[in-house]
């Protein structure tokens, strides 16, 4: 594909595209080398992380092996944006121990960020945490409560270190199996230096009534930059997991590379909800995949608003008969942002069905990209895929791309893919303005209408915040 990428030529930190305040990510570090591995990545860094976490030898070996894979693999710029070349792997801190907390004062937080918090109606205490002024929010208690409530049902809800240390008999079997280390360069990186993330096991038949929120759990620790999440829903179990929050999150690090693996055993259901709103200096390169056994269901709800570049294609491997996979994706790209998102559906059994609905909005010079893979191999019967991707372009210089790849073998399956690109209807705007709305309000309403059928699938508080956030993003995009 011809790729005329405008971001490619820019320097590492200076994102010349309009309106990006790079100071958002400027945090101060206390330099205490006894407690962190410094910058850059070598075999020693990995040794250090492993020893701090007191890991079993097999995990240490796994990390070292992954590091070799990471070094061996080239950046995937033959299909992906050349902006990836701006990541300086030597300047990144791969692990901060508990003694290391980034700090800055409330006065140093940029005004527009404070304004955003205000508009979203975030409590004072939480604002300070989100802005990185206070590293601890009152999450400990919330997390303990959730953990206690679900542990009565036999649910294990811990972080990756604890999961691998305390429950290897459960987690080792699937760890790194859904997404092998060598899946891509960034999954290899994560496998080498992962810390944080959630390890969850739901016993057979248990239906977890409340969504498990990573927000509280992760806030109780350091922010996870290389999160590793593994969720196993045993036969007939049901669980919903929520990650992130709609409030903009200001982070000390410019590279985030998570790996999330889901395993839904026979008849199980997993729903994974993400709202990503990193600050606009972040490269967010995430690998997410689920393995759905017989009659199991995996649904990814994925919403990307923040970051400089997000590359994320949640996938489902439909391994058992009648398994079902779904991806619902919303992406909003504003000035200087590139949301490169999509979905992967790998059918590997008869009568499996998959559904992808992706909607993207490009504002200003924002660029949103849909990439998809649908694969149905030979001799499967009764498989179905439906893909819809719609793009909305707000300004004359906004950009959108769609690159699906569909491979179908055999005659007993049905696949359909549809995509459309449009702008906000002038008639709609005219009608609303004639009813007394400003152009900005009309635009917000129209954009919210565009994604309304998807936001309804979010938990209520998320969809309310999302709506406010879109109002905010749309401000200044017209006129």
């Amino acid at each position: 594909m011809p790729d005329t990428d405008t971001l490619a030529t820019e320097a590492t930190t200076g994102n010349a595209v309009a309106g990006i305040d790079q100071s958002a990510g400027n945090f101060k570090y206390e330099e205490k080398h006894d407690f962190d591995a410094g910058t850059g990545l070598t075999a020693r860094t990995v040794d250090y992380i492993s020893s701090v976490k007191k890991e079993a030898p097999w995990i240490h070996d796994f990390r070292q092996q992954a590091l070799k894979t990471f070094f061996a693999k080239p950046l995937p710029t033959h299909w992906a944006t050349r902006d990836l070349e701006n990541i300086n792997f030597d300047k990144i801190r791969y692990y901060l121990s508990n003694g290391q907390k980034p700090k800055r004062t409330w006065e140093e937080v940029p005004d527009d960020i404070k304004r955003t918090f205000e508009r979203l109606g975030i409590p004072e205490q939480e604002r300070k945490f989100l802005a990185g002024v206070e590293a601890q929010f009152d999450s400990e208690a919330a997390y303990s409560n959730i953990k206690e409530a679900v542990s009565k049902q036999g649910v294990i809800f811990v972080n990756s270190t604890e999961g691998l240390r305390e429950h290897p008999e459960i987690f080792r079997k699937w760890f790194g199996k859904v997404i092998p280390t060598g899946d891509n360069k960034f999954s290899a990186l994560n496998s080498a230096v992962f810390s944080g993330g959630s390890f969850i096991y739901v016993p057979p038949g248990v239906k977890v009534s409340h969504p498990l929120q990573a927000y509280f759990r992760i806030n109780a620790e350091n922010f996870g930059q290389f999160e590793r999440t593994l969720i196993i829903a045993d036969e007939g179990a049901e669980v919903t997991y929520m990650e992130g929050c709609t409030a903009p999150k200001f982070t000390t690090t410019t590279l985030h590379s998570a790996v999330v693996e889901l395993v839904a055993l026979k008849g199980a259901k997993i729903q994974y909800i993400t709202v990503q709103n990193w600050s606009s200096n972040v490269f967010n390169l995430v690998t997410k995949r689920g393995l759905a056994h017989e009659e199991a269901e995996i649904k990814w709800i994925d919403c990307n608003i923040g970051s400089r570049l997000t590359m994320k294609y949640p996938g489902v491997v439909l391994k058992g008969r009648k398994a079902r996979g779904e991806v619902v994706s919303i992406a909003l790209a504003n000035d200087g942002q590139h949301q490169d998102t999509g979905a992967k559906m790998i059918h590997a059994a008869d009568e499996t069905t998959s559904n992808i609905v992706a909607k993207s909005i490009s504002v200003g010079q924002g660029r949103s990209t849909y990439r998809g893979v649908v694969h149905i191999p030979a001799h499967l019967k009764g498989c179905k895929n439906n893909t819809e991707c719609d793009a909305l372009l707000i300004n004359a210089n906004s950009r959108t791309d769609t690159y699906p790849a569909i491979t179908i073998r055999g005659s007993a399956n049905n696949v359909q893919h549809e995509a459309s690109v449009s702008k906000v209807s002038e008639e709609q705007i005219f009608y609303m303005r004639q009813r007394g709305l400003t152009e900005g309000q009309a635009m917000s309403l129209s954009v919210n209408g565009f994604i309304n059928d998807l936001t309804r699938q979010f938990p209520m508080e998320y969809s309310v915040e999302l709506k406010r956030l879109i109002d905010l993003e749309m401000e200044g995009s017209v006129g």
């Binding site: 594909m1 011809p2 693999k73 080239p74 950046l75 995937p76 033959h78 299909w79 899946d183 891509n184 360069k185 294609y313 992967k344 990439r371 893979v373 030979a378 001799h379 793009a391 372009l393 707000i394 300004n395 004359a396 210089n397 906004s398 950009r399 959108t400 791309d401 769609t402 690159y403 699906p404 790849a405 569909i406 491979t407 179908i408 073998r409 055999g410 005659s411 007993a412 399956n413 049905n414 696949v415 359909q416 893919h417 549809e418 995509a419 459309s420 690109v421 449009s422 702008k423």
Partner: protein, 438 residues
């Protein structure tokens, strides 16, 4: 998405060594200097470029292993042994090439010749119409992955068709150009160049036929539709089953011009078709159609690019593939809308009809949109014959086999029906049915 190490293979020349070029240039000794110079430059480019590799994005899903340029040679001129033409209709003029040499032709009616219509060979055009040829011969960008093969074509092109319709002239009957391969191991480079002047109207049909064991055909064309012109281009590719085929289409659509192209793909062992349409001025419309019947172990690889470079342009693409046996098809399309091409209306559709359990259809319908006031949609579907439709026909007393045939015909008719010329419609339909019946 898996990333793999990009292996840059050494430049592969196959049978096309510099000695072969020298002999070819010697045979063209009478040609103008610019022509020979272009050939040398093209050869240098061909020699410098590597063969497509497994990781080239523009060859995704293609069997790049099959792209072997060895074991073939530039064929001797042939007259005898021409395959009988299966494509018959009333034509205003015909040109028939066998192994690059003009072996038969029907001249234009005197009245059209008097109005300045030119239907001749490239060899003749080099003598008579050098300026036009120089301005249009392979001057459009190659962006779809076959740059190496386009350069090979330009270096070794022997002869081909040169058609010029002057301003305001309308042709009621089509012009038929037949390109035939005679013999085994032949490498041919068929070319058709059409310049349709402002407000002219014409239909041009390219028919590719013949060939024996292990042949290579690298065809290219240049189609230029001037302001307000209406140009229809039909290509029927029916090479032998052991031919590696490349067909590179390049179209330029000027203000208010209407371009319709239809490519029918039947023959070849592995056939790559690239079609690039440039909508350069407001009001231009490009209709891009293709039909493929793939059976046995054939691979048809189709790459398209709809380039909207000016405001208020329209394009409509419909590529339909029927797959039998263990055939493979790849459709990769891209609608590219430039930043100032507002009011673009573009459509792209790929429909795959799976008639076998071993067939494989790959679909990559893409969009790159940089203007906001546009209507761009695409769709791709892959399915078998609808059992409800089959049942309906049977319930009306139509036997299952006949109902099946009827539904396949209907699948193709959606494309064929867009042709204005009913004789061409019927002739193509016969070719398709002949392959389906085999």
């Amino acid at each position: 998405m898996a990333s793999t190490t990009a292996v840059s293979s050494p430049p592969a020349l196959g049978s096309f060594t510099s000695e072969v070029l020298a002999a070819h240039l010697a045979a063209q000794a009478g040609a103008p200097a610019w022509w020979l110079e272009r050939k040398r430059a093209a050869y240098a480019k061909f020699a410098a470029l590597p063969l497509p590799g497994r990781t080239s994005e523009s060859w995704r899903f293609s069997s790049v292993k099959g792209l072997d340029l060895g074991g073939v040679s530039l064929p001797e001129p042939a007259g005898a042994g021409m395959p009988a033409s299966a494509l018959r209709f009333k034509a205003a003029a015909t040109l028939t090439f066998a192994n690059h040499r003009l072996v038969a032709s029907d001249a234009l009616p005197a009245e059209l010749a008097a109005r300045g219509v030119i239907v001749t060979t490239i060899a003749e055009a080099l003598r008579q119409h050098g300026d036009l040829l120089q301005a249009h011969f392979m001057t459009q960008p190659q962006r779809l992955g076959s740059e190496k093969f386009a350069a090979l074509h330009a270096a070794f092109v022997g002869d081909g068709a040169f058609i010029h319709i002057p301003k305001g002239v309308e042709l009621d009957h089509p012009i038929l150009v037949t390109h035939a391969i005679v013999g085994d191991g032949a490498a041919v480079f068929p070319h058709t160049l059409v310049v349709a002047g402002d407000n002219s109207r014409a239909t041009i049909v390219d028919y590719f036929t013949g060939g024996g064991a292990r042949c290579l055909a690298v065809g290219a064309n240049d189609l230029y539709a001037g302001h307000g012109a209406r140009l229809t281009y039909v290509a029927a590719q029916d090479w032998s089953r052991d031919t590696l085929s490349f067909q590179l289409n390049s179209t330029v659509v000027r203000r208010d011009a209407r371009m319709q192209s239809l490519n029918v793909h039947l023959g070849g062992r592995q056939a790559r078709h690239e079609s690039l349409s440039q909508l350069q001025a407001p009001g231009g419309f490009s209709e891009m159609l293709a039909l493929t019947v793939a059976d046995g172990t054939q691979e048809f690889d189709q790459r398209t690019l709809q380039m909207h470079q000016a405001p208020n342009t329209r394009s409509d693409l419909l590529y339909k593939n029927a797959l039998l046996g263990s055939a493979r098809t790849i459709f990769s399309g891209l609608i590219a809308v430039d930043p100032d091409a507002q009011k673009t209306d573009a459509y792209q559709s790929n429909r795959n009809l799976m008639l076998s359990d071993a067939a494989e259809a790959n679909s990559l319908p893409g969009l790159e949109i940089q203007a906001n006031d546009v209507r761009c949609t695409h769709g791709a579907t892959t399915s078998r014959i609808d059992p409800d439709q089959q049942f309906y026909l049977q319930s009306r007393g139509i036997p299952p086999a006949a109902a099946h045939q009827l539904l396949i015909s209907a699948f193709f008719e959606e494309v064929l029906g867009r042709l204005e010329n009913l004789e061409i419609h019927d002739a193509l339909n016969r070719l398709i049915q002949a392959k389906l019946g085999a």
